[in-house]
Symmetry: C2
Subunit: 359 residues, 2 copies
């Protein structure tokens, strides 16, 4: 049964450190989303050293320290921001507060790594762009549905190798388990979570930019709706978006909170990538009713036939080591700042312009 | 290897006659698409009696008579239209000629069963609507991707039984094998085939109307493109459409001619139906790289868990028997005329208003 558990938030990869202990220090603050575990785990596996953790809720801090005993509780945010050892602040604040926190982190001379969605308004994005230009600090985003899914990493490698020719179309499905009772109050307030396209839609848009290899993308249309959650009137339980890339690729994705109760995991996330010579389908977290356990199912069809790959424990999660090195070397191999900002901008535009479907 | 063979055009169901020999007589004319075999086979399995066949190309007639020896070649179209025994004319003409033929059939007092897409222009649709009103004859359409796929029939039954709650969203993928060398010249001429949304898009729109249970649907947006076939400049090798139903359901589908050469069948047709309480996925013609043979794979996920069903040789193809009885009894159990016309109208509107993606 689908209990909406948090296992997906911290997949265990093979540790592949890019630095030695103490060479890259990060601290964690604001533990509003379970993604903070995945972000922390991935940075640790990539060799980063975890120093402190801060959240106004002491219970959350205590629980975090049980999971990550190397973390020392900090008394306040400022203690971390003023710590000269800390190069990166990793955070999962309430979505509407992610930008203001990021600005404080960047002003303190540190790089920022936030859970998605990175913003709830275009004004926040403009502020972050300005702060990035002025301080040179990074505002990086944990787009976990690509960065922290080995099948998604493998798909990128296959596309780079030309396995499916030129990417001309993509569909993404991002169903999630609502499990409303486990969600904090802010999760249901539009001003705080930003809407479904800002939130879980951000994963999808980022993947479209990545796999098409084009950050010059426009929103061709978007819809949101609340079909079955009238008790949470500000929740979008459904959203979808059409995208057009400047290189001609077209895309569509749907996100929702309708994972069926009997699903064996939190969501049957899919990605369908169509090239001129082949197709890739990802069944990221489950291959429904297949008898197979776990996720990372990749189906490649091209001139050579139909092939199945299980990407678990294969390619790992190279982004996090790249992020560490990018922070140390002031490079952008893992992800460019413009890519992260452009993905964020498109979510915000799609959300702002969405047509509301009336159930 | 995907040789674009015609096997899909005539799936073999269990014969389940609704009439005795001679009680319902049909003839066949115009053999421009392999679908004519599926249409003929299905009517025969449902108990209809095949009398004549006509096509201006004697080779096509000879080949048809080898496959269906019960058919007698007719000297001309008029011979069939004037035959008082014939209750239904079954045809797969060049798409742009399907309506004019249908008008002649209806004027001759017979029902008409045409391959999809049923029209290439809204003017043709208006003529058919008028002829239907005046003559009372039927203009029925072979939407084979639902009517002649057991998994699609089973999905309808499951939805009727409430297995997934209220249908709120659908995605359909209709990839096809181009196999350009095997296609007639008219297939590449826009005025004759009508565009990809009129052609293979018609299956998808019809399914959206059917599974959502709502014929009051609007096109929210559509795109077409020619990504990789510059030698056929009037071919759309890609198209997609967003749909909104008056009952709130939203839909999206993509059709294309990009089935990879190594795919084991002509297209990995999919249908994803999301309800408030569950989901159904159809892998109609292949379950890629699964080791399973054949099609009709249905995946149901709801409160009770994840379940797989192979629908082959289960529910059969009830539409064709219903069509025969509807013709005899002047009823509309199999499909209402308005449903067929509405699906056709939406294809035409989607095609007319489509934005062209520039590769």
């Amino acid at each position: 049964m689908n209990t909406g558990n948090c296992m997906q938030y911290a997949p265990h990869g093979r540790p592949s450190p890019v630095v030695k202990p103490g060479e890259f220090v990060f601290s964690v603050m604001y533990l509003e989303h379970g993604h903070i575990d995945g972000m922390t785990r991935a940075l640790l596996d990539a060799g980063a050293t975890l120093k402190q953790v801060y959240d106004p809720d002491a219970n959350k801090v205590t629980a975090f320290c049980k999971r990550f005993p190397q973390a020392t509780p900090a008394a306040c945010e400022e203690e971390i921001l003023q710590d000269k050892d800390v190069q990166l602040v990793c955070a999962a604040a309430i979505t509407s507060q992610r930008c203001s926190l990021g600005l404080r982190v960047m002003e303190a001379g540190k790089d920022y790594f936030t859970d998605k969605g990175p913003f709830t308004t275009l004004e926040q994005l403009a502020q972050a762009r300005e702060a990035h230009r002025r301080t040179g600090r990074k505002y990086m985003v944990y787009f976990s549905e690509r960065l922290h899914v080995e099948a998604a990493v493998l798909a990128g490698y296959m596309i780079d190798q030309g396995e499916i020719g030129r990417v001309i179309h993509m569909e993404g499905f991002g169903p999630h388990t609502l499990n409303a009772a486990s969600r904090p109050d802010w999760f249901f307030r539009r001003a705080q979570y930003g809407g479904i396209l800002c939130d879980i839609g951000s994963h999808q848009i980022e993947q479209f930019l990545f796999y098409t290899g084009d950050d010059n993308v426009q929103v061709a249309g978007s819809r949101i709706g609340n079909y079955a959650n009238p008790e949470h009137p500000e929740l979008d339980d459904f959203g979808d978006v059409n995208l057009n890339a400047s290189n001609g690729a077209a895309g569509y994705f749907r996100v929702d909170w309708f994972s069926p109760k009997g699903l064996s995991t939190w969501g049957d996330g899919r990605m369908f990538i169509m090239g001129t010579k082949g197709t890739i389908e990802l069944r990221k977290y489950v291959n429904v009713a297949s008898g197979q356990q776990g996720g990372n199912h990749l189906f490649l069809v091209n001139e050579r036939g139909e092939q199945y790959f299980n990407a678990t424990n294969t390619v790992g999660f190279p982004f996090f080591g790249q992020l560490i090195l990018d922070c140390l070397n002031r490079t952008e191999y893992g992800m460019t700042q413009e890519h992260a900002f452009k993905a964020a901008e498109l979510c915000l535009v799609a959300q702002r312009d969405a047509k509301v479907v009336e159930p």
